[in-house]
Amino acid sequence: MVSKYRNETIRKKRRFEEKTSWEEINNPIKDRASHKVRALFAVAAVSIIAAFYLSHIYNIQITNHELYTVKSEDNRIRIRPIEPIRGNIYDRNGTVLAESFDTFDIIAKKENIKSVDNFLINANKVFKFNSDQINEIKSQFSNKKLKEVTLKNNTTIEEFTKLSVDQYLLPEMELIIKSNRRYIYPEATSHLLGYTGKLSENDLDSVIKLKDGMTSVGKTGIERFYQNLLSGTPGYEKLETNANNEIIRVLEKKPALKGQDIFLTIDANLQKFSYGLLKNKKGSIIIMNPKNGDILAFVSHPGFDNNLFVNGISSKDYKKLLNDKARPLFNRALTGQYPPGSTLKPFFGLVALEDSIIDKSKYIGCSGEYKLKNYKRPFKCWKKDGHKDVNLSSAVAGSCDVFFYDLAKISGIDFMHEKLKKFGFGEKTFIDLYGEKLGLLPSREWKNQSRQAPWYPGETLNIGIGQGYFLVTPIQLANATALLASGGESITPHLFLMSMNNNKAEQYGYNENKIKIDIDHDSLHVVNESMWRVVYDKKIGTASHLKEIEGVEFAGKTGTAQVYNLDKGKTGKKSLQDHALFISFAPFENPEIVVSVIVDNGGSGSAVAAPIARDVMNFYFKKIKKQVAAR
């Protein structure tokens, strides 16, 4: 078979060669020569293409070397900021008010979670959530601001180790250390300390020094004002990561610098006690040292739990706070504006004496009302039957309105505006908190500008008893009282006592913040004595019903600021009730503290505000002073 096939092949070939001579078809010499030409052509083409390739690679590797080096570094190097530990806040005795502490949280980064549904199913297997917790986690998913989902707060490393047995179910979960903030007296210090929160866009154009790597920032209160001291300096880690974002090694590390600890002028016990006195009321208490401006208590009631804000308040809690009629988020002590009412009388009396508008022995008859030309309705004194004959001293002690209507009429609005300014009315006190309100010391110009109306004589009379357009903030009133108590020399009210940085203390700059106003001492003596009579003149003193403090005499002035000028009790609505005010200082001879109390819609200053101030002073002299002395 095989030989037969071969013979056939050979025969075919012969026939083929006969037909076309092999030499013609396949000329070895000619074929070799022409192949050589083509082969050399191919070699040349290969060389040219290789050269072109190399020039292209040259362009990448040499010409654009720097560009690609940057890109390569960007690929592998990640900077991870290290959050600094925020400084603690202490009171003047070293009691902790706010502290930083580390918590271990189990979280999952959203970027690592591919399917939310699968994640929830697996997370439930690991953590065995109840339905509330699942809803909470779902809401974390829908909150676009959050980059991670917190599965468990405040856990321990041991617990995480136990849970990591199931890590295969939930590879996304990881343990992170978070620096947290805790407020020891959440409600009582809420308006004073404020709170920290996640850095947001609102913080970008503020006075806060933003440092790379900061994620949380003081939002209000002391936390905000002293943010730059408290925050410290973030550090960073330069990490090498691979394409899966896994960390290979740490290339460089710069530790964070801890923030400074701050000591406040506040006395924690006094703050707590004062806050407690306002229970079921709305209002503010400010206690300060008239000589050096130290604020011992700065209370606005009701407060709120500032711990809720630290890790982002839930919208449910926030709505609850917003809808509360008592307005717990409203910092009354700093931003509340009230007519001063009768608490203005000592100040007004003082400037009138100084400028000899009246004599201290000048008497005026009070019949319970005061008539002004062209006004049909008379201006009423709070005492229907009148105070009979009163001079300045008894007019302050008994809070006679008719006396001050007359004084206002004699003085005129321009004088009052001009002279009362020196106590700081209508101006910021520059206490170390943001958001302070100005109050309002009215004037002809102000009315012209804001109301496009002339000033009416009757308005002057209302200003004379601290009503009408007149508005003060509690801190302004406390500051003005401090000037009375100290004889015109004081220091800007402040909360900062000192900061500690590596055991180096930095004191409050008392010398740079002195306030000095000219006060005639004879006149001041008359006024201060009249304020003493408010408390101790049993016949006419509007606060003479107060229980005495053993061993300490104090002076004060009641105030009842009318709201909407409505008759008391007629509407029956509590929100329209008068504000109760009381300013005081003690001890009378050598004042150590000024206490200013305002109770919103509380009723009369005499009945509501004065007893609170008395209790505060009693507590101060009986408890606080002894504690300090014992220390």
Partner: protein, 367 residues
Amino acid sequence: MNYDSTQFGGFSSLFKLDVKLLTIVMSIVIIGLTTLYSVSNGDINLVIKQIVRILIGMSAMVFLAQIHPDNFRLFSPVLYSIGILLLILTIFFGVGKSADRWLDFYFFRFQPSELMKLFVPLMIASFYSDKSLPPRLKNLVIAVVIIIAPAILIAKQPDLGTAILITSSGIIAILLSGIKLSHIFLGSAVAIGAIPLLWSFMYDYQKSRILSFFSPNQDVLGSGYHLAQSKIALGSGGMFGKGYNNGTQSKLDFLPENHTDFIFSAFGEEFGFVGVSILVILYVLVVFRGMSISIKATDNFSRILSGTLILTIFLYVLVNIGMVVGILPVVGAPLPFMSYGGTSMLTVFAALGIIMSIKSHQRLMRK
């Protein structure tokens, strides 16, 4: 010119190997193993696996070098037919991850398309071995059919890259056989006319790959991501490279496929432009040596076959490097003698074996 290689003693002549070609290729192989060791972060098992594949490839080379070229010529039609048959079988019984490229014979799997990389040049060379050159139009058309038939079958799998490569190697064979100028014009016209037709037959992912080549910056994380990372690897290497074992792009996995298709970039990152130039020159030297064998060959079959095979190897080099440096689209082609993987290694060493057979059997020239 006409000498008997057996008259020189020694190992290489005993096994009918070409020492020069082998030396150049082994240099490249060693560069490849060195890079592989670095890229795999010192995974010696991976390197050993690759060495085993190289040894298998070299065994095939030595085996083929012993076979007389006439046998290749005579068996070409048979081999070609078997190849076509296997390709047809692949369409019906093929397996694979994204494309059915593999035939599973239970005890081993292989890609029939890989065989065609050798069989098509063999078939063309064999077909032209007793034809007058440059070929007449009829023979040219037959050659084109020989090329197109497997190319279509492979493109169907779908493996467009290999189809294009096989077509290209066929065209190289035709060009090396000599072609009339008028036929070049005719062929170009037909090819250009076929482009829209080809495009309409392409799958979406094939289209997107080609499109991404023209605008790689548009989606860095999509199909252009590979190229962007490859350029970063090369570019950050600079003149002298980051140093051996210091490549960050490749070792931290930013460079995808860093031990297979993109091993050239990994090498360039660590050894810089100097290293890259040396490597490219080595590949050019492979061509020089192969073409020298082709020029010295004593019959048309040997000339066309050896020239085509060596140029096809270089074509693979161009396609791979062109892909990783952004000259050509990302098609997924390995770098001969360097990329990790067995199939390609076997094919290129087999091609070398055939070339060496041609070189060592020159004495059997007719007349």
